[in-house]
């Protein structure tokens, strides 16, 4: 596995994890081998009345990630991510930084989700 996306309140590894997936401020894309990062702003998605989760899934799929780390992933986003075989790790602890989330992921102390943990639109 080479690249993952972490829902984030800001563009860098030391920003806090945004617990929301569809309406996250953005996604920090982390190359696990080099720890190089890039950032996808999700501002455009936040203004959608509906479909934010699907749009966000499109964005991270376009970045070519294999896995998403987040707090809460809704059913349509989960369906969209599953369709392109992007794994989901959810229920990240509140107040965690992106760096800490990546570290936790690399240590293997996470579980891949087998279903969404939020209703639609929340």
């Amino acid at each position: 596995m080479s690249k993952i996306a972490v829902t984030s309140e800001g563009p860098g590894l030391d920003d806090l994890v945004d617990p929301r997936f569809g309406r996250a401020a953005g996604f920090v894309i982390v190359d696990l081998d080099t720890m190089n990062t890039s950032y996808i702003d999700n501002g455009q998605t936040q203004v959608l009345a509906q479909g934010a989760g699907i749009q966000a899934a499109q964005l991270v799929a376009g970045a070519g990630v294999d896995c998403v780390l987040s707090g809460f992933v809704g059913p349509k986003a989960f369906q969209a991510l599953s369709a392109v075989k992007i794994k989901v790790v959810q229920n990240l602890d509140e107040g965690m930084t992106v760096r800490e989330a990546v570290k936790k992921f690399k240590s293997g102390a996470v579980q891949y989700a087998d279903g969404p943990n939020r209703g639609a639109g929340r």
């Binding site: 934010a52 699907i54 499109q58 376009g62 349509k76 969209a80 392109v84």
Partner: protein, 293 residues
């Protein structure tokens, strides 16, 4: 003439007023329940239903063998009901608003119309009154598309027979409520003279006033609460067309599914008078319009 019975707050007496108006309406009438999420006018009018049929909305079906993944459909869709995930087209039929844009824009003609059931539409009659009702499918999130189909049926019935229409609208001031009142000639707002009632009545007035339609008020449960509704109506020159008192007899009649206009001559008179005032309100507006022209 089309009269919509609306309110901001729920439970103020829209259906009570609509059913009673239907009872005293002298001209040929179709009574329409547009509160498709929770229709209840039939519980009072007890119509004989002659026909019930499904109502559908058009949603896209993808032929992946023709798709070149150009994403024109996905870029167009404002609701993400059709989305491109790499070389996969995902559809979310429950999110589709049925605009047909994706089908029209597809350069490969890879999309064809499918459908999702919105609910059902029933028609019948209660005595001499025609009856029409929409009922949203459980789980369906969008009521305006079904409401538009009920209104189309209403216009067919009313247009063919020269009928008036009384619409029992959904509560609130969002899309369903606006959809119910936007095509009517007169809007009757039902409120109760309480702080809650006033708060939501005012929201409804603010939401519907931009239509510039004649609007009047029925104050239900008069005698409780305070005078805020009355002073607001005086200030904004909104006519109070009728007042129905807070009365145990009304609650008892309602709980038995009775039409309030049938309870006593006193109550019948309230709605006969309301009927006349609705026509006065409509014609006053016509005169005013004529004098401006």
């Amino acid at each position: 003439m089309i009269v919509s019975i609306a309110s901001g707050k729920g439970g103020t007496g829209k259906t009570t007023v609509a059913a009673s108006l239907a009872r005293v309406w002298e001209r040929p009438l179709v009574a329409v329940d547009l509160d498709v999420e929770a229709p209840n006018l039939h519980l009072f009018l007890c119509p004989q239903i002659e026909e019930t049929g499904p109502a559908w909305i058009e949603t896209p079906i993808v032929d992946e063998s023709k798709c070149t993944f150009c994403s024109a459909c996905s870029d167009l869709c404002q609701f993400k009901a059709i989305s491109m995930m790499g070389s996969l087209v995902l559809t979310f039929p429950e999110m589709c608003h049925g605009c047909g844009g994706c089908i029209a824009i597809c350069p490969q003609k890879a999309l064809s119309p499918g459908r999702r059931q919105l609910g059902e539409i029933s028609r019948g009659h209660a005595g001499g009154v025609q009856f029409l009702m929409g009922r949203l499918r459980i789980g369906e999130a969008m009521s305006p598309p079904l409401m538009r189909q009920v209104k189309t049926a209403m216009n067919e019935i009313a247009g063919a027979g020269g009928l008036d229409a009384v619409i029992d609208s959904p509560p609130g001031v969002s899309c369903p409520a606006v959809n119910a009142v936007m095509d009517s000639d007169v809007i009757v707002l039902v409120t109760e003279p309480t702080p809650f009632g006033f708060h939501d009545f005012r929201l409804a007035w603010e939401a519907f006033a931009p239509f510039g339609k004649p609007m009047g008020v029925v104050i239900n449960r008069a005698g409780i609460g305070d005078r805020q509704v009355y002073s607001f109506c005086a200030e904004k020159e909104i006519p109070v067309l009728a007042e129905a008192p807070y009365d145990r007899a009304v609650a008892e009649g309602y709980s038995q599914g009775r039409i309030i206009a049938d309870l006593s001559p006193k109550y019948r008179h309230i709605f006969v008078s309301l009927y006349a005032k609705i026509f006065e309100l409509a014609s006053a507006r016509l005169d005013k319009g004529a004098s401006h022209a």
